[in-house]
């Protein structure tokens, strides 16, 4: 108990003297703010992509796609097998008894003019497609009519490619009008043009869908659903939980950037670590007489050492909070386009990661100066100039 009181007292003395040492304290705060700011800013990109792809409702959904052939890899789920897939056990049903599963058609659309204008993508959906996306809302114009050569564009794609109601895109059979703009709760589908799958396939003379998204009754229904499809001799399909599929695809595409973020965070932390050791050593040097006095009036070595360690941790934490706050202010919610529109997300988990990163760095950096402070002989310390 006495030790704890001593620690608290020494810490208060140290923190009280920070006002006189604000310039040196600023070195740690700014250093950690930079480290955490860069780390969280970079990781906000993968967090944003994850939020756009991994929707909460996907936890009870599955995705079915065809085993690959030599050519035409993305649309090899022939329409003849769709009925069989929709008969699989475990698929949720709507009030009218229809399976809540949607065969989707995906394709890239070349730019109307010029070269290399980015990757505008078209997603053909069926009647269940909208039921699977309860957040889908038309924000301008109207919805495409089933069976008509019409498209609606997501707000992300509309902004990126300057498309609006009345714009046209060229498909194989000519120009298609855009009749509406939709939002979908920041889902990645906001980066797509959406139309009636059957009509789009007819226009592009394709026979195959890319995938079937199925809403299962519950998460427990998946094993039976998966077994039924993969063991069915009439089908040659892959089945995966939607969340697993998205996580795998996303992980493959973002692995480089995520690893790079950690490598850069580690290099910066190493620089900051040297800074912390330097600054805390200078702080101990500046407080030598104060420490000597404390030791002379009965304070133990441990409370003195801990006070140095805690001071480093406190400054590191302040820096981490500032860094994460700066990243949040500058980047959170900022729209980007990487394979589709999404918003950068400085997630709470990134704040925690930044705090832990800074705390570990500060504590490591404060360790040697703390040890030195604890081992200062009181009489020598008192004689210091």
């Amino acid at each position: 108990m006495t030790e704890l009181r001593q620690i608290a007292a020494v810490c208060l003395v140290g923190i009280g003297s920070l006002r006189e040492r604000y310039a040196t304290a600023l070195v740690i705060v700014v250093g950690m703010a930079c480290v955490v700011g860069v780390l969280t800013s970079m990781l906000s990109l993968t967090a944003g992509l994850t939020r756009a792809y991994l929707r909460p409702e996907d936890a009870t959904r599955a995705i079915v796609w065809a085993e690959r052939a030599n050519f035409d890899q993305s649309r090899s789920l022939h329409r003849d097998v769709i009925g069989t897939i929709l008969d699989a056990p475990g698929i949720a049903r709507s009030s009218n008894g229809a399976a809540l599963a949607d065969p989707e058609f995906l394709m890239r659309i070349p730019p109307l003019e010029g070269f290399a204008a980015g990757s505008l993508q078209l997603r053909g959906v069926g009647p269940a497609g909208l039921a699977l996306r309860p957040a889908f809302r038309i924000v301008a114009g109207r919805m495409f009519r089933t069976g008509a050569r019409e498209l609606v564009v997501g707000v992300g794609a509309a902004r990126k490619f300057g498309l609006t109601v009345g714009s046209e895109v060229r498909l194989r059979d000519g120009k298609w009008p855009i009749v509406g703009v939709f939002s979908c709760g920041a889902d990645i589908i906001e980066s797509y043009l959406v139309g009636d799958a059957v009509i789009v396939m007819a226009a592009t003379r394709r026979q195959g869908f890319a995938q079937v998204i199925a809403q299962l009754v519950d998460a427990k229904a998946y094993p039976e659903f998966q077994r039924w499809l993969t063991e069915n001799p009439a089908l040659a399909v892959y089945v995966e939980r939607k969340t697993d599929y998205d996580r795998r695809e996303l992980g493959m595409n973002t692995a480089f950037f995520t690893r790079m973020a950690y490598v850069i965070g580690a290099i910066m932390a190493l620089g900051a670590l040297c800074g912390v050791v330097k600054v805390m050593s200078a702080a101990v040097r500046a407080r030598t007489r104060e420490i000597g006095t404390l030791r002379a009036i009965g304070f133990g070595a441990t409370p003195v050492a801990l006070s140095v360690l805690l001071e480093a941790a406190l400054l590191g934490t302040i820096g981490a909070v500032i860094g994460a706050a700066m990243a949040w202010l500058v980047f959170d919610g900022r729209e980007m386009w990487v394979w589709g529109a999404f918003k950068l997300h400085v997630a709470p988990s990134l704040w925690v990661l930044g705090l832990v990163w800074a705390l570990v760095t500060s504590l490591l950096g404060g360790f040697l100066p703390a040890l030195r402070a604890g081992r200062l002989p009181p009489f020598e310390a008192l004689r210091a100039e």
Binding site: T24, F71, V263, G271
Partner: protein
């Protein structure tokens, strides 16, 4: 020159802290150097992609273009060569290890001369149709050498004989072609004729991509438009893009370190600016009497300023040099990670420009750091300081 002993003595007043400052500065400059080199590497990947090479694919993602288009393309003005290319992707013996082989025909020698296959390599492909060449990175990742066998497994239906495994003899290791950026799989080159003879009859005579060489880079856009117009009503219709613009589009569409590397480098330097400024301010504060004596001896403000700036610049310049050397080491480590498949990035090369920028940044940091102490020294009451008041 006469300042050097003074600067040297000032730097080593507190050895441990000076070394720590130097370490922190060196790490920051190493990061800065890596970021500059990384930025340059991504820029280079775009610059290496040539404007006079065109990439032709299906306009509406048909996946396969008839090889018969080649003759029609060759008749379009400005086209000097047309080569066919097919990707075949599957997995190795371990199904977690993806592998994609790019099969090319011999017309690629003219259509894509940057493909790093020597005449001897082309002859080897001709003599051993089931042979492949791997890029250094691809070979290192798979730990294979010339003479080894690489397998590619695909679902049933990919081979005419009903087999699912393709066996390829490694004929040699080649460098990555210029402009082979982050978005492409490992460079593994095979013989298109062998693929043609091994797949189902109905799938023969088709390619994923046609590559076209044009006579002059400035003709590229016009030739592309002519190709698209020629094949507008064909089935499939074609989409054409100059390789350079395609590389630019890919760089913009993917997560790209090029866009953020300079920001990270700047953040690293900002991180150490305070450390450097604090160090020089502390040094001047502790030696006010020394500066007072110098002033009393007749040192003017300009000479004092030079002394302080030199004192600030010495560690930053030294750190820039050490950081440059460290950056090469860290760059080599990152390249090793890239080869191992841990990260993926274009090859970084040591650049004098990066080194120059680091030195400029070091000088700027020193100047900014010295501002506050210099202001303090200018306002110093020499008599009071010398008297110890």
């Amino acid at each position: 020159m006469k300042f050097i002993p003074l600067v040297w003595a000032a730097l080593w007043r507190n050895r441990a802290e000076s070394v720590l400052t130097l370490l922190a500065l060196s790490v920051a400059f190493a990061l800065f150097g890596i970021m500059i080199a990384l930025n340059a590497a991504y820029e280079q990947a775009i610059d290496d992609a040539r404007m006079d090479r065109l990439i032709i694919a299906c306009r509406f993602e048909c996946g396969a273009i008839p090889l018969g288009y080649r003759e029609q393309l060759a008749r379009i003005g400005g086209v000097t060569a047309v080569g066919g290319q097919v990707w075949l992707g599957g997995h190795e013996q371990d199904e977690h290890h993806q592998i994609t082989v790019m099969f090319v025909d011999e017309e690629m020698r003219s259509a894509w001369p940057e493909l790093p296959l020597s005449p001897a390599d082309w002859r080897a492909l001709e003599v051993t149709p089931a042979g492949i060449f791997l890029s250094r990175k691809a070979a290192a990742r798979r730990n294979v050498r010339t003479g080894d066998t690489v397998t590619l497994n695909l679902p049933p239906g990919s081979r005419a004989d009903g087999g699912t495994t393709w066996f390829f003899a490694v004929l040699g290791v080649i460098p990555d072609p210029p402009g082979w950026g982050q978005s492409n799989p490992d460079m593994i080159v095979g013989n298109l004729r062998y693929l043609e003879n091994s797949i189902d009859l109905e799938e023969r005579g088709r390619v994923n991509v046609l590559r076209v060489a044009v006579d002059r880079p400035e003709h590229a856009r016009a030739v592309c438009r002519a190709i698209e117009a020629w094949f507008t009503n064909a089935s499939p219709a074609l989409y054409c893009v100059p390789a350079r613009e395609n590389a630019q589009e890919l760089a913009d569409a993917n997560i790209n370190m090029r866009q953020i590397s300079l920001g990270i480098g700047a953040a690293g330097l900002f991180m150490i600016l305070f450390l450097c400024a604090n160090g020089i301010a502390e040094s001047v504060r502790e030696r006010l009497s020394e500066f007072g004596v110098l002033k009393a001896l007749g040192y003017g403000d300009a000479r004092i300023a030079l002394l302080v700036i030199l004192e600030a610049a010495a560690p930053t310049l030294l750190a820039a040099l050490i950081g440059g050397a460290l950056a090469r080491g860290v760059g080599a480590f990152l390249a090793h990670l890239a080869v191992k498949g841990v990260i993926d990035m274009p090859e970084m090369r040591a650049s004098p420009a990066a080194f120059g920028w680091a030195l400029v940044a070091a000088l700027l940091i020193a100047l900014v750091s010295a501002l506050a102490p210099l202001y303090r020294l200018r306002r110093m009451d020499v008599a009071a300081v010398v008297a110890g008041r």
